[in-house]
Symmetry: C2
Subunit: 343 residues, 2 copies
């Protein structure tokens, strides 16, 4: 695992759109549209090889591969991108390795407040939830908001009431507890006590994480979903970019689907997910060009750390990030890659 | 007041950018940039002349003119668009005529849950609050989130804790009570009881409203602010487009500032405010072209009722809406218009 990158089918991997250099505006990287495409992330941030044990590395790569297996099976069997995205994110939420669902980071008051959203590129329908504390899989609730309510975004206890009425699985808040995240909160509080007395974290290193999935099915439907526990030690009912349609999540069959991960405030201010789509639709950029411009130029210049996963209507995939690492992977018929680090 | 439109300076009114037909892509409607520009709205919806008394019409038009007076004074004196937008929205929030601050509509449980956001086009900085119940002027809290926290969006009780810590005026929830809105809730509940038993309103007629202001100051800074009480009889902690940066509110000095009002779910799904900006920036549309395309084509085709106010970096103003009416107005040096109906 020295490279941190598994090439399941090395010969094919070189043809991946996301690793190609930008091309002339308006061109598409791939003309042979695959039967399906699937791309995932498990968060971006200060993820360095020197801080990782071989066991942890294997655990992350195995989880990413399992997530791709789950989504790929659904798409191969002719299932919808909606079902694939939901199932993949449910798995990532249930896996304590990632900051979403079980394994979510703790707020300042020792709670787990979860955000999620899902968007359907066919009709721009969307559902989002913010600040839920007892919903086992926030992505399921986001989908229920989209399908079973006339609303897009529900929040807090009201969203939980809706979850219960809809028969969405709820759990005791302790379900989300993981020792590792609890210790992160204690460390964050210690740093805070030693600092200037500011009520806000002085730096965001390792304080954020998200999971996301974008899928294209045989019908050409693009769905994007994102789920998170937010920032360690967050206060004041802070809501990040994950449930903000156009910020951390967006899908449009005419262009692409995008799921973001990183310092959420920048993703909101730069309307990152919709900006990638708008650059393709209005300026004629390719997916790779649009995604690179947003992540490596706009966000980077602003100091916004993070990355995104995206795929376009032709099945091209992009996974740019400007942080040290991003847990990520994609699958298409005969192609798969999972990766963690930059190199 | 037969026309519902006051031409304060009739001779100049014909030169307003927003009333001109769309021109060739990429052109700007007005080359003489004014020293300042200010545009406001007090909500769009089923606002018909036949349902309005002369007294109510006068009250609305007077309030719109007073709001413009407040903002114009600040801008004329060399104040910032940030201060102008905040002061105008504070006035509109304090005026019970509009669904924001005092005069906000009631939720299903008889509460007033307020949302607001503000965005600074100079650096794309932004602040937003969702679901606050004791903050007298949510727009002030949104500005404090932007200026005094590293976050963009705070929600619920956490946002209220932040308000108290920042010395933002809080009030007893009864402050927001108005008899008129209370009766609207009772009527909505009666209709609900007589209907199919759905927990969601069958139609949205007269159920939404918002206030907004966009200003351009002498430094070329564009600021957009929006504030609302949301939908009558809303449930489940529903959050609309008002605090969604890129949805109901957006500002970018390079393009324009936008504040939306209408059926918020559509404004979120169509990322309305950022879309107007992206159409200008990436496709070269004028403000009027971009705003008209989004309101009269995209939103209308989707069934999304509402409108928006916008101004661009050259001081052009647009106020399109696809509903029966929109409380609206604008002011520039030597020009002013306030209006309610379509004709």
């Amino acid at each position: 695992m020295k490279t941190g990158i598994i090439f399941i089918m090395a010969a094919l991997a070189l043809s991946v759109g996301c690793s190609q250099p930008p091309k002339t505006s308006g061109t598409m990287e791939q003309s042979d549209k695959p039967a399906y495409a699937l791309v995932i992330h498990g968060g971006a941030g200060t993820i360095r090889r020197e801080n990782m044990t071989p066991e942890m590395e294997t655990a992350y790569l195995t989880a990413l591969n399992t997530a791709l297996d789950i989504g790929e099976k659904i798409l191969q069997d002719g299932g919808s991108s909606m079902d694939a995205v939901e199932a993949v994110i449910v798995f990532l939420e249930d896996t304590p390795l990632f900051n979403a669902g079980r394994g979510a980071v703790f707020t300042n008051t020792g709670k787990n407040e979860l955000d999620a959203s899902i968007m359907h590129g066919a009709d721009l329908d969307a559902g989002a939830v913010g600040g839920v504390t007892i919903v086992k899989n926030p992505i399921r609730l986001a989908r229920a908001v989209m399908e079973k309510s006339p609303h897009v975004m529900l929040s807090g206890p009201g969203a939980e009431t809706f979850a219960i009425e809809q028969g969405i699985d709820t759990v005791s808040p302790e379900y989300f507890f993981t020792q590792d995240r609890w210790e992160s909160l204690q460390r964050a509080k210690e740093r805070e006590n030693q600092s200037t007395g500011s009520l806000f974290p002085a730096d965001y290193t390792n304080k954020f994480g998200t999971v996301g999935c974008v899928a294209l099915d045989k019908n050409g439907d693009i769905v994007a979903g994102t789920s998170t526990g937010g920032m360690t030690n967050k206060r004041y009912g802070r809501i990040g970019d994950t449930p903000i349609i156009g910020g951390g999540n967006y899908a449009n069959n005419a262009t692409c689907g995008v799921s973001g991960t990183g310092h959420g405030e920048f993703f909101i201010r730069y309307t990152v997910a919709h900006d990638v789509s708008a650059l393709m639709e209005y300026k004629g950029l390719s997916l790779a060009e649009a995604a690179d411009l947003v992540v490596h130029k706009k966000l980077k210049d602003a100091g916004g750390e993070g990355g995104l996963i995206a795929l376009d209507k032709n099945g091209n995939v992009a996974m740019p990030f400007n942080s040290d690492g991003m847990y990520r992977g994609y699958a298409k018929p005969g192609q798969r890659e999972v990766a963690i680090y930059k190199d």
